[in-house]
Assembly symmetry: C2
């Protein structure tokens, strides 16, 4: 089967589809049209049909979509059928917040350990996980075949810690450090840049204020 290259914008919408479809299943809704889905999710019906066509469609003209099939299909596209193991690098507030967040386990992500270079943190337990010395990071990753590193360290140490991951089993970095990592192609980076997100909010605030001034 030939695989189409799917745009980043489509991929960023998939988790939202997945979430809303789960909500429908929980309410025992088993079939839905693109129009009705549009109402609850806020994308246009034609956008929705286009998005699903990227993956060979899921619906039949006139019958709507089978919600469960669509939910499972999008889950597979997102790779949620493959369990993943992760470590958190940086056991500060953000690392602890990720560790304590219960949603990841449900979706097949298992956080196995935290790492920090602060002697006061090393040896502590957060939830039921131990905080290890960052010096043991590479050894631990290789022994435990870890897939994902969640990076929650200050900007200054982000790149040097990320560099340690090259050549290990880690294939993806979930980067919370306010630093633009430069990585080889072997490691995928997904950034959660909180400053960027706050700036976008700031833009829309200003935009709304200007709009209301012009009314």
């Amino acid at each position: 089967m030939e695989k189409k290259k799917v745009s980043q914008a489509v991929i960023k919408r998939l988790p939202k589809y997945h979430r809303f479809l789960k909500g429908l299943l929980d309410k025992d809704v088993h079939r839905i049209s693109s129009g009705a889905l549009s109402e609850i999710i806020g994308f246009t019906a034609s956008q929705i049909r286009q998005d699903f066509n990227n993956f060979g469609g899921f619906g039949q003209q006139g019958y709507g979509y089978n919600v469960e099939e669509l939910y499972r299909g999008i889950g597979r596209i997102l790779g949620l059928d493959v369990p993943r193991s992760a470590v958190i690098i940086g056991a500060g507030n953000m690392g602890q917040a990720l560790c304590n967040y219960s949603g990841f386990g449900k979706n097949g992500y298992e956080i196995k350990a935290l790492f920090d270079n602060n002697p006061k943190m090393i040896g502590l337990r957060i939830r039921d996980l131990e905080v290890y010395d960052s010096d043991r990071l590479v050894e631990y990753i290789n022994e435990n075949d870890i897939d994902i590193a969640m990076l929650t360290v200050p900007a200054e140490s982000a790149q040097s810690l990320a560099n340690k991951l090259v050549g290990t089993s880690v294939k993806g970095i979930w980067n919370f450090s306010p630093y633009d990592l430069r990585m080889e192609d072997s490691i995928v980076v997904e950034d959660v840049n909180l400053n960027d997100s706050l700036f976008v909010l700031s833009y829309y605030l200003k935009d709304k204020e200007e709009e209301s001034k012009n009314l």
Copy 2:
């Protein structure tokens, strides 16, 4: 001056421009071509020129961009010239992580207080800020003319807390709760949905694994 409607994709790129331009200024670079900017930021030169044209351009053909002018211009577009006050609703790990993050103050966002409904948290100080009872939220916001609410509560209580903000001075919600808020037009919502971001990472991991299998 007529204002063009700028696409969400352009707006989401502005914070990255802002950040990289600051990096150039710190290195005493005062003039740069779209080509050179493309090299360091990773967008194409034509994308960069198009983006800046949305705001009336900033460069002169053949002379490149004045870095400082561009940096300040983008800052203004993002509304960073207007100081903003904020409260954090939910003083758990994520709320504390936001409270302890020092980057916001530099950019003109002042966090003034935290709120929680857990009696064990109320009265605690995080950094130099007090945790107040959520019952006092609306009163505090109105007395202190707060602009932004950072929402870091569980999904179950997100909508009911957000509803309290309607009619107050709050014009924007920075939403970390894994819940899709439904708000009136008077309040802007910017979501930081961590699950969504992790799912996107998961997609790219799977994509890369399939690619390497096909080599």
